[in-house]
């Protein structure tokens, strides 16, 4: 299983043709206390760059974009009751949604963990 990152601070775990998407630890730190998360419904077709989820913190509301194209397999239902999971475990329990990967080549332009760490260090 390999993990990728986007410049919009999302992470993507790819396992076969299913990708799990969430926001990075850096993103949750910048947003502050998360109070609400709206994840996409199962079966929703998304193109890369579509608004997929909404995350609201005490400071701001932000859109989370689909980092890859595909169909949503599952949204993390736990986040509606416990949005704080995004703060406590952003890159684990705080995942947003799982999506089928319709075009694996879309992963090519993304960063790996090391490249993302370097990207964040420059911000």
């Amino acid at each position: 299983m390999s993990r990728y990152f986007t410049e919009d601070h999302e992470w993507i775990d790819v396992d076969g043709d299913v990708a799990t998407v969430g926001i990075s630890d850096y993103a949750q730190g910048a947003l502050g206390d998360i109070v609400f998360v709206d994840v996409p419904e199962e079966g929703r077709a998304l193109s890369k760059g579509d608004e997929a989820a909404v995350v609201e913190s005490v400071k701001a509301a932000s859109d989370v974009y689909a980092p890859v194209s595909g169909t949503v397999v599952e949204g993390n239902a736990q986040l509606s009751d416990e949005p704080g999971l995004v703060n406590t475990d952003p890159e684990g329990e705080g995942w947003f949604f799982k999506i089928t990967l319709s075009d694996a080549s879309e992963l090519d332009g993304l960063m790996d963990e090391t490249a993302y760490a370097a990207f964040v260090a420059k911000l």
Partner: protein, 518 residues
């Protein structure tokens, strides 16, 4: 008998200022604890003594109420006390300086209120025959004339009811103009980062797609980037001037010329017109439509105190598309131009923004403000608002980080960031400590382009003494935040409630009162 003029306060030498036992009531002298109205009253008692009705058979059929209504019964003095006690825990412009910029919580002259309460303005109905409301129509007509003159524009739609409603009005006029030209395919509205947050929402609501234009490091529109994006798909730009960074957009004329040459229109968010009224006419800068917040620039009540009102001024190019109704002067007096009598001289109007004619009470107050200041007085309003903001900016630029301090004078708003506070301290801590100092906090975390923004708008009516006291308080709090004073993290300490858990309140909001016993 002599009057105490020395400021001597006759506190007993035995007065104990140390730790004392908490009170039985929870009150702290004149700081009163107040329960919810449901906890004071109950549905078993009532403050009104009606005789038992002789109701034999209801005509409500199966619509009769089955459950008790559950409203608390209180007598008149109990009700009055409840709301008066609550009001004493509030902070208001009538209590002190209210630095909440971008909204201009400024003094509402009492003369405005007196005029608005005259029966001929307050007791009229929008469906009254026009010949019985000539005075009210004349007020609308006169105010319209002032707004058009002050902005250097061609016409004004008086009916929009708030700033964002005015934005929508302007954008709908642009849409109608494009469709008339057969250029409805222009679907992109450009919105700079220095614009108000409502602008992109308005454009999207009207069916346009929104594209951001970056700001330069000095806090203004990146003119080169904006020009580079113009093209046959661009309907127009929405630009806020003065902008949310508190700066005047000096390139607006140049931008307007480029937008017009590319076939688009210029919408100006005029929410900050109070900084330039009497000094700058937006019409001279090539603006095609702009809303004016009467509840900001022209001192009508705002924020819980009264409705907004957002008339929109139009250029010659957009005037044919302005919404109905409007007031017209004829030989016999004033008439309302509406659908049934608009005829061909307003055939291209895009329609209506509201059912009737707008906020009559706000029109009366705004015209009163304008007439009591006169043209020279309005100019001084803008000058004093800008002077006061610059005084705040220059007094604090060596204490707090002021990101645009080198971009020239600010307009009516001074902006600081939380960049030079101690590690772990942010704007929220400064704002909460200001509550202890007896001030309403400034706007926080806006504009978004500034880290931990603190946006201070003192307004034109504050004296130098009042400004000095506020500056002293903010400087003292900022110095504590820079030194890392841990007591700031739990401020406010002297307010009716200490630091509230905003995260818990947002995650698990309690929005409905429920009887704990039930």
């Amino acid at each position: 008998m002599t009057i105490n003029q020395s400021g001597w306060k006759p506190t007993s030498p035995e007065a104990n200022t140390g730790d004392v036992q908490a009170t039985f009531t929870g009150n702290r002298a004149l700081m009163l604890e107040e329960k919810l109205i449901f906890e004071i009253g109950d549905s078993e008692t009532t403050g009104v003594d009606f005789a038992d009705g002789d109701v034999s058979g209801s005509r409500l059929g199966n619509l009769t109420r089955k459950d008790p209504i559950g409203l608390p019964g209180l007598s008149e003095p109990e009700t009055v006390r409840h709301y008066t006690r609550l009001s004493r825990q509030n902070y208001a412009i009538d209590l002190g300086l209210f630095p909440l910029g971008s909204c201009t919580m400024k003094h509402n002259p009492r003369l405005n209120e007196k005029m608005a309460r005259l029966g001929g303005f307050s007791d009229v109905h929008p469906l009254q025959p026009v010949d019985t409301v000539q005075g009210a129509l004349e007020v609308i007509h006169q105010l319209a004339h002032w707004l058009v003159t002050l902005t250097g524009m061609t016409s004004v739609a008086m009916s929009p009811k708030a700033g964002a409603h005015g934005e929508l009005c302007g954008i709908l006029a642009i849409k109608a103009a494009l469709e008339k030209r057969g250029e409805g395919h222009r679907k992109v509205i450009l919105v700079p980062e220095s614009a108000h947050g409502t602008n992109p929402a308005t454009a999207a609501f009207a069916g346009f797609s929104v594209e951001d234009i970056p700001a330069t490091a000095d806090g203004r529109v990146d003119t080169a980037a904006l020009k580079a994006r113009l093209g046959p798909d661009v309907a127009g730009v929405m630009i806020t001037n003065p902008n949310t960074c508190g700066l005047f957009e000096r390139d607006l004329k140049d931008i307007s010329d480029a937008v017009h040459a590319a076939g688009g229109y210029v919408y100006c968010d005029g929410a900050n017109f109070n900084a330039i009224v009497g000094r700058v006419r937006p019409g001279d800068l090539g603006v095609d439509a702009m809303h004016i917040n009467l509840h900001k620039t022209f001192s009508t009540p705002h924020g819980g105190g009264g409705p907004g009102s957002g008339p929109v001024v139009f250029s010659e190019a957009l005037t044919p598309f302005a919404p109905l109704p409007f007031v017209e002067k004829t030989g016999e007096g004033f008439r309302l131009v509406e659908e049934e009598n608009a005829d061909d001289h307003h055939a291209d109007s895009f329609g209506r923004m509201v059912a009737f004619h707008g906020q009559m009470g706000m029109f009366t107050r705004a015209l009163t403000y304008i007439l009591s200041h006169g043209a020279d007085g309005l100019r001084q309003v803008a000058e004093d608002a800008v002077l006061n903001a610059n005084y705040v900016l220059r007094s604090l630029e060596n204490t707090l980080d002021a990101p645009f301090a080198k971009s020239g004078p600010c307009m009516h708003e001074a902006i600081f960031s939380d960049e030079n506070l101690a590690e772990g301290f942010s704007t929220i801590d400064v704002a909460k400590a200001l509550i202890d100092e007896g001030f309403h906090p400034m706007t926080m975390y806006f504009p978004l382009v500034v880290h931990g923004a603190m946006l201070v708008e003192p307004t034109e009516t504050e004296s130098k003494a009042a400004l000095d006291q506020f500056i002293g308080a903010l400087r003292s709090v900022a110095e504590r935040a820079k030194a890392g004073d841990p007591s700031l993290k739990t401020a406010p300490h002297f307010a009716p409630r200490a630091r509230l858990d905003e995260t818990l309140a947002a995650r698990k909001p309690v929005l409905v009162w429920k009887d704990k016993a039930a």
